[in-house]
């Protein structure tokens, strides 16, 4: 029991919906000796008024939050330090401390009682926007909040502090569902609509409540009802790339309607074999990709690039596929290299493979580079048209949309017009008008439609 160890006293969680408490009375004063479990202070919340037992034994070295102040759950109120302080066992008595740091740590250090401060701790604690306060204090004590691997992962991906999440698992543990619901609801459970609290609390010079995180640029002040999460590196990258692309290319979009009857029939025929023998699905996307690769061979500029004042064309086609990650909160474009060498099955396997590995985060850096043309498929959600943004420095991007049954005018065997029900898919080509003119784009789409409508099984 090292005499240097200290124990933090934090504002306890007094019920699931309580997020703050007011200190009504300190029962011990700075410099006084206190035993573990001895009443230390009295607090008042909107649910209960209660005594808080001391989380450890030792001298009450410092009180940070004075009587009358209202602070958030988890805020450090005082520190007990000095002889006899038994961090490990005594912290267990804190009803439910859970400061931002505690949670950040418990993911990494399970027996974190009174660990000396480390730079890691500081870095982990700061990015969480809602995280309270001080980065210089010793890491607080919390051996209780177990954060499961998947919760830790989701928390770090979304920049969420698990200690802000209401746990419904055993012993109040935060489950995967809890944290997903928390994120989905925009992190609302963190601070359930408190009208006045935060602003008045931090009168003390101490950790008290929230100091707005101060990143490089000064953000607009937070408004009631807003919540914050940091942008992931991926989000920043997407933001930069999208803006940059619109600033670079002259975006124009042309669309064409394709009768997918033939593809649909072939697809139905191949489905079982593909699934049983190869474990892949012959999706509409695969057919479009295969036909696009074939068509691109005849349109080198659409598969090209403007580099300086030169036009680059290629003897190969590297097809990028936009893959959605994290339930729509991220996007990556893995590339199928030399797509012109793949037949339909090869394309199905290649696309399934990269899409899967994209979701599993198992792509090699090399596999998201070198694309010469991109296909994006927002049609899965039923959209029938869109204007995607070109992936720079490519010249065009193909959008595929929902296959929808529509009344369609076709010729019967006598050459008479009749209305038939046909599965129709819209395709869009968004191209860089600096390089590709409307007529060229139109011819490309016409040829692509032709290939899909007259799909020649033996050739693909």
């Amino acid at each position: 029991m090292a005499t240097t160890e200290t124990v933090d006293v934090v504002m306890p969680q007094m019920g699931v919906s309580v997020s703050e408490g007011t200190i009504t009375k300190w029962l011990k004063q700075e410099g006084e000796q206190v035993e573990a479990d001895e009443p230390l202070l009295e607090i008042s919340t909107d649910k209960v008024d209660t005594e808080v037992p001391s989380p450890g034994s030792g001298t009450l070295t410092q009180i940070f939050v004075q009587e009358g102040a209202t602070v958030d759950v988890g805020t450090k109120l005082a520190v007990i330090g000095g002889e006899g302080a038994d961090g490990a066992s005594s912290t267990d008595d804190v009803p439910e401390p859970a400061t931002a740091q505690a949670a950040a740590e418990s993911a990494a250090v399970s027996d974190a009682a009174a660990t000396p401060p480390t730079t890691d701790t500081v870095e982990e604690a700061t990015p969480a926007p809602a995280a309270a306060s001080e980065t210089t204090e010793p890491s607080s004590t919390n051996g209780k909040t177990f954060v499961s691997p998947v919760v830790a992962k989701i928390a770090s991906e979304h920049g969420v502090d698990p200690s802000q999440v209401q746990g419904t698992g055993r012993g109040g543990r935060v489950t995967k569902k809890d944290i997903l619901n928390f994120i989905e609801s925009g992190g609302k459970t963190a601070a359930p609509a408190q009208p006045e609290p935060q602003t008045q609390a931090p009168s003390a010079p101490a950790p008290a409540a929230k100091e707005a995180p101060t990143p490089a640029a000064a953000p607009a002040p937070s408004q009631p009802g807003e919540s914050f999460e940091p942008m992931t590196a991926m989000r920043k990258g997407i933001a930069e790339h999208m803006r940059g692309s619109l600033d670079t290319s002259a975006h124009v979009t042309s669309a064409i309607e394709v009768d997918m009857s033939r593809v649909s029939a072939i697809r139905a025929k191949l489905k079982k074999e593909y699934q049983q023998s190869y474990g892949v699905n012959p999706t509409y996307l695969i057919f479009v990709a295969r036909a696009a690769a074939e068509t691109l061979r005849e349109y080198p500029w659409i598969n090209g690039e403007i580099r300086g004042d030169q036009i680059v064309t290629r003897s190969y086609i590297n097809l990028g596929f936009a893959v959605e990650l994290q339930d729509g909160k991220g996007l990556i474009v893995p590339v199928v290299k030399n797509a012109e060498t793949l037949n339909l099955l090869g394309m199905a396997k290649a696309v399934t493979d990269i899409a899967q590995r994209a979701r599993d985060k198992k792509l090699l850096p090399d596999e998201v580079q070198g694309g010469t043309f991109t296909i994006t498929n927002p049609g899965g959600y039923g959209t029938f048209h869109g204007t995607p943004v070109i992936s720079q420095p490519q010249a065009a991007i193909l959008g595929t949309y929902a296959v929808v049954k529509r009344p369609w005018v076709v010729q019967d065997e006598l050459g008479e017009d009749v209305i038939a029900v046909r599965p129709i898919m819209n395709l869009t080509l968004t191209y860089d008008h600096r390089l590709v003119d409307g007529a060229l784009a139109g011819r490309f789409l016409r040829d692509l439609r032709e290939k899909l409508e007259t799909w020649d099984e033996s050739a693909y």
């Binding site: 499961s148 691997p149 998947v150 055993r170 489950t175 995967k176 599993d360």
Partner: protein, 324 residues
Amino acid sequence: MAELTYLQAISDGLRTEMRRDKRVFVIGEDVGVYGGAFKVTLGFQEEFGHWRVMDAPLAETAIVGACTGAAMMGLRPVAEMQFADFISCAWDHLVTVAAKQRYRAGTPVPITVRLPSGGGFSGGPFHSQNPESSFAHIPGLKCVCPATPEDAKGLLISAIEDPNPVLYFEHKHLYRRIKGEVPEERYTVPLGKARTHREGSDISLITWGAMVYTAEEAAKQLDDDGVSVEIIDLRTVMPWDKTAVLESARKTSKVLVLHEDTRTGGFGAEIAATVAEEAFEDLDAPVRRIAAPDTPVPFSPPLEKAFIPQVEDVTKGLRELAEY
């Protein structure tokens, strides 16, 4: 499609292959005149003759040894162990010779050994075991454990077709209890591919053989608690469908492995370890196992019931995981 029992589906698969491929023959104790202890090969000797449906002496060593030799000479033998338990006699031939021949000499050994296995009818310690994990541990052997009539036929045909020794564990308790639609034509079910018996989002229950039905009952009960259980029927224990299991584990973040074999060193341990190794970051709870205790299979009905995992054992395990 016809509705067949699990047992009829096995017969149908075997008959289909025997009619199609003259290299396929059957050998085992009482498989000929008597039609097999469980009547899987009833009428086979009349149709295919005694050279293709051979009664063997009570000597499993001889049966598997003969099959191994015949397979090396180009035939496709299907051996029947009267009970899976008796295969221990043939261990040496299977493990030392058949499993390693391809590796040592490059010779394929396309034998299929049918193993009526499992308990639930007071068969006692010699007639109730599920020895799949012992053989799954041996490189060179494949282990198949069908749960449905459709899979029973398709997997048996795949087993016969496969160039390796395949152990086909057919669960006796399913023989006449389970019925299902079975295509009349020949088809195969690939070895090493799991089947999602039931989709769910909260817990993945990985199992095979008769336990698929125990799992299903338990999962239905969990529906009432608002817990959605996904059941993955492994179908083949070796090679096992790691991809499907990991995919499901990553989806639900909670995994329960269930098998009728005893717990220690059971194949569930391999699955649990793999999930922990490869999907650790996606787990929201410890991987759990439910299996039989480490004892011989008891004869007495109440004791056997206590031994084989029951629906209530599984619901309890599922609830604990759900609440974790």
